[in-house]
């Protein structure tokens, strides 16, 4: 039984590592993630890069991910499988959304930066999936891609990009807590 326990922690450590490079509470990690955010917001132009700016959240397929926001006692009581499944679904949607954002960017340097960030997200998603498999949880089937994209004008696309970034930031913050919680539960 001890060897199984040890195996469980191997993929778990790699998740923490992926998260560290994407987003942590210390100065170094935050700086990395924030650079991409600042770059994207500067590209979108004012008022998107202004403090306190908040356009209404669009109702599009790119943003059809579980909300990072949840009641504290519900979050606390989440079963491991549900917790992981929410993370897995969220990052699947976010990865596709950021990829599309990179594709439609006119600035080549920003495109490269976003694609590089996607590599990090892809790694994180892979680690989550690996951990789910190790723990014996079934992975959800890959949802049908956003084929029917409604025609949005360029401003609406910018608002969507703004919200993708916001969801990304919320989820990265939340996942750090999720994996700490998971670590405690797996140990105890």
């Amino acid at each position: 039984k001890n060897t199984v326990f040890y195996q469980l922690f191997i993929p778990h450590c790699s998740i923490h590592l992926s998260l560290y490079f994407l987003f942590t509470n210390d100065a170094e990690g935050r700086l990395h993630q924030s650079q991409v955010a600042v770059f994207l917001l500067t590209y979108l132009g004012p008022p998107f890069n202004e403090k306190d700016f908040s356009p209404p959240r669009p109702n599009s397929t790119a943003l059809s991910l579980p909300s990072a926001a949840t009641r504290l006692e519900l979050w606390h009581g989440l079963e491991n499988q549900a917790r992981l499944a929410q993370n897995q679904k969220a990052y699947s949607v976010l990865l596709a959304a950021v990829r599309e954002l990179a594709r439609s960017t006119l600035c080549p340097a920003l495109k490269t930066s976003l694609l590089h960030f996607c590599t990090g997200l892809d790694g994180l998603l892979g680690s989550i999936s690996a951990l789910m498999t190790t723990l014996g949880y079934a992975l959800p089937p890959p949802s049908a891609n956003m084929e029917m994209r409604p025609t949005m004008n360029d401003f609406a696309k910018k608002v969507e990009g703004f919200w993708i970034l916001r969801e990304l930031q919320s989820w990265l913050w939340r996942s750090a807590k999720d994996f700490n919680r998971l670590k405690k539960r797996l140990r105890g």
């Binding site: 500067t42 202004e50 209404p56 959240r57 109702n59 909300s67 009641r71 401003f155 910018k158």
Partner: protein, 465 residues
Amino acid sequence: MNLGVTAAAAAFKEAILVFTPAACSQFGLQTSSEEEPTFDLRRAAERVKLRGSCLLFTSRKLDKVRERRKAAKRTMFPFMFLLLLVQHVLLSSTHEAVISPQDPVLYIGSSLTATCTLSPELGLHASTLYWTLNGISVSSSAYSVLSPDTLSITLQNLNGSQQQSGDNLVCHGADGHVLAGSCLYVGRPPEKPVNLTCWSHNTKDLSCKWSPGGLGETHIQTKYTLKYKLRWYGREKECEVYNTGKQRYSCYIPRNLALFTPYEIWVEAANQLGSATSDITTLDILDVVTTDPPANVQVSRVGDLEDQLTVRWASPPELKDILFQAKYQIRYRLEDSTEWKVVDDVGNQTSCRLAGLQPGTVYFVQVRCNPVGIYGSRKPGIWSDWSHPAAASTPSSERLQSGSCDPKPGEQNSTLRRELKQFFGWVRKHASGCSGMSIKLYDQWRVWLQKSHKTRNQILQDDNS
């Protein structure tokens, strides 16, 4: 739940209230999924004694609440609001207002009249709206209320777009809420690209660079395509690898280039406002060949000669079998100098002797190559980069070691002393009036000088302390 309601009540005091009878029916009831909280708005409204049957929070105010909550311990409270807002927004945000025209492309200096049309369920009047362009409010003198639900704005003499993604023209409600937006692309058509220059590395590939014509900046996305074809036959081809390295307007053709036949090359520039084509440049690959710097550059002394060094190198590896007429150039400088001296008439030998150098000094030397006349080309050719610097020092001579320029202070004194001794000897011999003059006097004078110097310093120190 009590905690939640109290906190909610506190937040309501700061919330912006908009009473919209139509939206009311969406509120006040329980939610669908078990994850989302239950919340009774009516009860909370009673607590703060508000009139009206429902409330709408702007997302901005919500974020302010969230920011404050972040400082305190995170509770479920802000998330409940977020979920409620999301719910409301999902039901009505898609058609709050519409701006026309959407994403227009305009010439710099032109004017634009845009309209913001509200959807009726918002219950807002056009006169309460305002516009911003790139986050800056536009003065209401440019507005015109066309109808209760349509506000227009006229922008004159537009400047080029501030960012590549388009200028953000946004229609806001009175409280700052974003109702709709449109991206403006203001620029100019491209001018004929100029200064098209190409070069080939070892006859294998072709790199070209050019400059945008005219004012250079078009402010909107402009695509440059480099095209080429063999002059007397062959289909037009397009270059595919753009902007390699640090060059912004450049392209690279890696392979399949023909020699001995001229190419025609040009650049086409196009954007949504127009297009332009550069003049056609005709060239033969062999006339624009450049190569790597010479290999194995070595600098060495010429026996004991103090003012000469020998430089030796190998012709660039890729073309070494065909560079019959190549020219070389050498440049050298002193170790701590920035001025290079160039030796031009090296011809096509692979060694050269530098003369007229300073003894006992370190020199840095570089060599470069021009594959001129390659395969019979008559053009001047293109110089390669300089090789990595090689260093060597000239021998220093014996004679100069005993203080020629900049002798040490001790040496200086001993020279002076010697000379003085000679002088006093001469004075005693030829000048009768200075019989007391002797080298002993000089020595005594030196001692006195040192003593008084010390005393002087002592006084100064005493003064300071």
